[in-house]
Assembly symmetry: C4
């Protein structure tokens, strides 16, 4: 395993690095940006770009799911979000976007206490399917059993099970926990599951048959896990650990390749590029897409952690707007702040380091920098 340092006489710990701690280094070869490939594939689904819209109400509505699909990406609808609780969530979205910071979470706790309607799950997914794009929806592990049949009735192309810390060995005293292996075996759609943040948990999740695992705790800028419960694994280390699990699992499974998807804390295009450089195959983006002028969050961004009824561990954060969804993905940029042209940035980084596709770019050199 890895180098450990002694924190005190009774405890050792590894050093763990965030994406801010690392930088990509050029090699001896360069390329033209237009020559590199940014395509990404999970199961039978191929996308132009390794970007997934995160299942957060500030990012993915049925409308933006369609838009992302048409742009060569895919948006995952949060099936426990406002769109499956309210016939028309416009009022709730507007209120969350306009409330003062100190009151927003209290209001969200209330707005999200409205029950989820299976009929709305079907309706929303059908709307996306009609547009002819990839249909993807997410449930938390806790609610998967209850609403899965509604999801299957509606039909999805990709199914995402997403929580803050998800394991393949959940233990409960008063209910039978979700059996991921059984569930994935029975489903005929690829399942992406997470978040995980370390080698062992990732390896166990891969063994359940998941098509992809989410690395991170989700929420990023909107998350407050470190302040509230002290749990946190910096993303550069987490991605690299899970990428190693992918390699080992591929060996033990005789060649199954599980997609490693960075999730959370990728606020700027440079973070997105570095996540791939650390070994991710794709990235689930929240805040960057919430900055779209056409995103449902209207300049605000929040995740599922922020609406927990007794222990919210997320914020509603103001991310502002940076351009259309298309400009955020493909540019052109008119500013150098890393908020637009994510794909152009990836192309430029791959060109500067001489790699032709994402798989080879994962091998690029990086340095650790003590200061920024």
């Amino acid at each position: 395993m890895a180098t450990e340092i002694e924190i005190g006489l009774g405890k050792k710990g590894r050093m763990a690095y965030s994406l801010d701690d690392i930088s990509i280094v050029p090699s001896r070869r360069t390329r033209d940006p237009q020559d590199v490939s940014t395509t990404w594939q999970v199961d039978a689904y191929e996308f132009d770009v390794p970007i997934i819209g995160a299942p957060m109400d500030s990012v993915v509505s049925p409308q933006t799911a369609i838009e992302l699909g048409e742009l060569g990406s895919v948006g995952v609808l949060d099936l426990e979000g406002l769109w499956t609780r309210y016939e028309d969530p416009t009022e709730q979205l507007d209120t969350i976007a306009s409330m003062k910071g100190s009151e927003a979470i209290r209001y969200m706790q209330e707005a999200y206490s409205e029950p989820i309607k299976p009929s709305l799950i079907k309706e929303r997914l059908a709307q996306i399917r009609e547009a002819g794009v990839t249909v993807a929806g997410a449930l938390s592990p806790h609610c998967t059993e209850e609403f899965l049949s509604a999801v299957l009735d509606a039909g999805v192309d990709l199914f995402v099970i997403r929580g803050t810390a998800v394991s393949a060995e959940h233990v409960s005293q008063d209910h039978e926990p979700l059996n991921l292996k059984q569930l994935i075996y029975n489903l005929d759609v690829p399942v992406i599951v997470g978040g995980v943040s370390n080698y062992t948990a990732a390896l166990h999740l891969m063994r359940t048959g998941a098509a992809g695992v989410l690395v991170g705790f989700g929420g990023g800028a909107a998350s407050a896990d470190r302040n509230t419960i002290g749990v946190h694994v910096p993303l550069a280390t987490a991605i690299s650990d899970v990428a190693e699990a992918r390699r080992d699992y591929m060996d033990e499974s005789g060649g199954r390749y599980v997609q490693v998807i960075a999730d959370g804390g990728l606020g700027l295009s440079g973070d997105f590029v570095k996540a791939l450089a650390m070994g991710a195959d794709a990235a689930m983006l929240g805040a960057p897409l919430a900055r779209a002028t056409d995103a449902p969050g209207k300049g605000m961004h929040w995740g599922a952690e922020a609406r927990h009824s007794t222990l919210p561990r997320g914020r509603r954060s103001e991310v502002g707007t940076a351009g259309t969804m298309e400009e955020i993905l493909y540019g052109p940029s008119h500013t150098a702040d890393g908020t637009t042209n994510f794909v152009g940035a990836l192309r430029r980084a791959m060109a500067s380091t001489g790699y032709v596709d994402i798989k080879s770019f994962q091998k690029c050199g990086v340095v650790v920098t003590p200061t920024r």
Copy 2:
């Protein structure tokens, strides 16, 4: 011992880490938050939660000691504080809370120069006992001999001897220093003593027969030891060192288990959780409880160091208010800033890492992170 680095040719030193430098990492197993146990026990006294209200006038009054007891915790009254100097300290508390920052210490030096009355010690402790909760009071090493008989007359369940740096081998030229071993042997109540911050000092304190040792210098946010006298041991390292002393002492004593109690610098719920993860059995909280709307500090917080007559080494700091004492302990939270629902945060962290009780949670994995 531990890895040392060369600071200069003539001096080596260990690296020492604060709780801010570390994070808890999930393992491969998760649990339901409601399944974990947060109980804590010292001697015959068992508590629902591993939280002790710090003997600071901004935190524990007779009234909040009762309240904490009813909430399953325990509050320690500072027996050298305003409540044993004044029949009714309301005016002094109000004045301290309302003064401008620059004048507060000077006023406190004056207010705390009023002599301590043994009769008030008895009266305050009696008031707490009448409420049927655990009775706990604290004296400094310097004043223990003078006021101990008053304390014993009144009767306490837990007795705390607390100073900034307390050792079992205090040397004095003009008076016989407090013989901790003798004193603890003679008392028939469990004694908690500190602060200590390293293995050797802790081991010697444990040998005096103490039921628990306080790790840290107390005061945390309110302390200025590092600026004023240059003395400081970051808490993550200090707790881990003392936890190792506990293990070694348990061996040499044939099984006596001494409680390790983190004291000071635990401002947010994440800090509290990490203190236990580093090896503490419980935590003495100051600032977090001073934020209670019903705390005597009225949004201000200060400790004994701040009232020293010639060398104050603490501040009166504005901590604001975050909710009732009950909300701070048990939630619900309506914000993700780590100021409320400390017990919920602990349950969530234990659940995310798969541990069932505090003793096993002390073994959880942690990482050291160079940036935050």
Copy 3:
């Protein structure tokens, strides 16, 4: 090679240090500042000071190129800048300097879309030549083939090929990439090429016959590469790596000494001095010279990265003014902020450490400091 640390199980990386992370240490000998030599030579051209004005429109106009030449330095004109696009770029320069930050890049994208005129390349270079100073111009690798004949017709003493990441092995699918080796062999003027940031890329560039290599990405304060594309190599490490390539290339080539020129991120005189201490022979300065009251940027500073049509990776940053070009180079200073008297600072540092010329000063001792 160098010490690597494990970032995660699947990725290792070197530690890389910025100039801010290091400091020069005195030795046992001191000298008089007036006794040290600051001269610098590339091919047949000798300069009083190891300073080159960067090819940026905020720094070098035909006028300031002349001024720098007369001061014993050399200014490189950006032959793709405003001066070769407009007969009289005064209006464009004024507009860029006066626009609000958020609009500046959009305007620059427009202003720099005006085609480059070969006739203006000749005219500007001729104007500099008439003044009797060293004539130096820069093109990007992308445009070198198209405009080189105009440059050669006009005649230059030093030719600079400068991009953000330049390699000797550029790969392109739709055009024949610039063959640096062929080009340099055919030219009869010394060529300086860059930026590079690592040993291997530098070694390959040196083998093309370049007289000097630029280390860094250019732009410094005005660059946003790290945020936008995640690519960055801290300068202290980059210079030292390239200096090692110079040593190894000198050995393999039987004695060819290639100038190592630090480029970008040298905002203060202390940075400039430290760049030489790390092994640079000279420094290409942007922001420091843009602060001249007589610089064309009028207190604003920007580089070629900021005008990219779809992915700008630079800012127009406000650097203010600090004195005349002469005061910035030679003082006197009336402030200790490191913005004036760069040569005096170099002399003082060399005197404090006892070295007589830049070549020996490159051996001076440095320390790495964790905090600043």
Copy 4:
């Protein structure tokens, strides 16, 4: 020698630590603060406290030199300061204290261009001697030869030769450099010389016969060496290195003990205490004493570096006022910001760690802390 890290392929460097990077750790023993000894001795002169007033016009005037002497300390008059240039420098002191920051250095360059008068050197020193306190004056290496006879005529008890970087092997092309060994041999007063910042330079200075060496560059808060010329050695490492030189020199000289005096960058009482913990015998204080209500700087602070005619490397910084000179030395404090009661802070730190005198306190344990 010490652990080195590779900065780049061509350069290695040691890690060097500032006092901010370290903290003192308690041991297993504690003492009463009143039992510790703070006395300090250089040659035949014994002082109550290990504190020297720095030769800076904002700190030591003839009046404050007397005051410091009466308080058991010693103040060193800058014999190249305003007091030896002007019959009555009140106007100059007032003007410097009242000017706007941006204009102060320019005015100082002018005010300090007034020639030094040998007669005033004699007059000022005589005034201090009349008060019956230790008489100490400082010259820079550059001016020592010119004004030494005036100093000797007047008579001093301690003579200080102080520059930013002073070596025993100064090399000059146009004048015979100061022969420190000869000079010290000829003088019959103890000489303190510096600043030095490393083992070798310190060892060579000790061999000249100096009674003490100054460690650091002086000026501290008022110094800008790092920004301007890139030269800097963090003080914790520098003191420890020089303390090791003291040990080795004591061995090679058969027992000569040279005083190691920390100089510069000791802004708060915690810094002062830590300097001694790292191995210093005493500290030369600037900013802390400039904060005296009765200091000549009137809340402003500056050193000799700030008045250099062409390359000022210091600032006039606003330090404010904290109390009388006596309160700064001995308290009482009414604030915990580390600006008053330096001696009380030292006593408290020694008591907390169980040491009885400064010589033994130099052995106290320290830790390196990555964050503050």
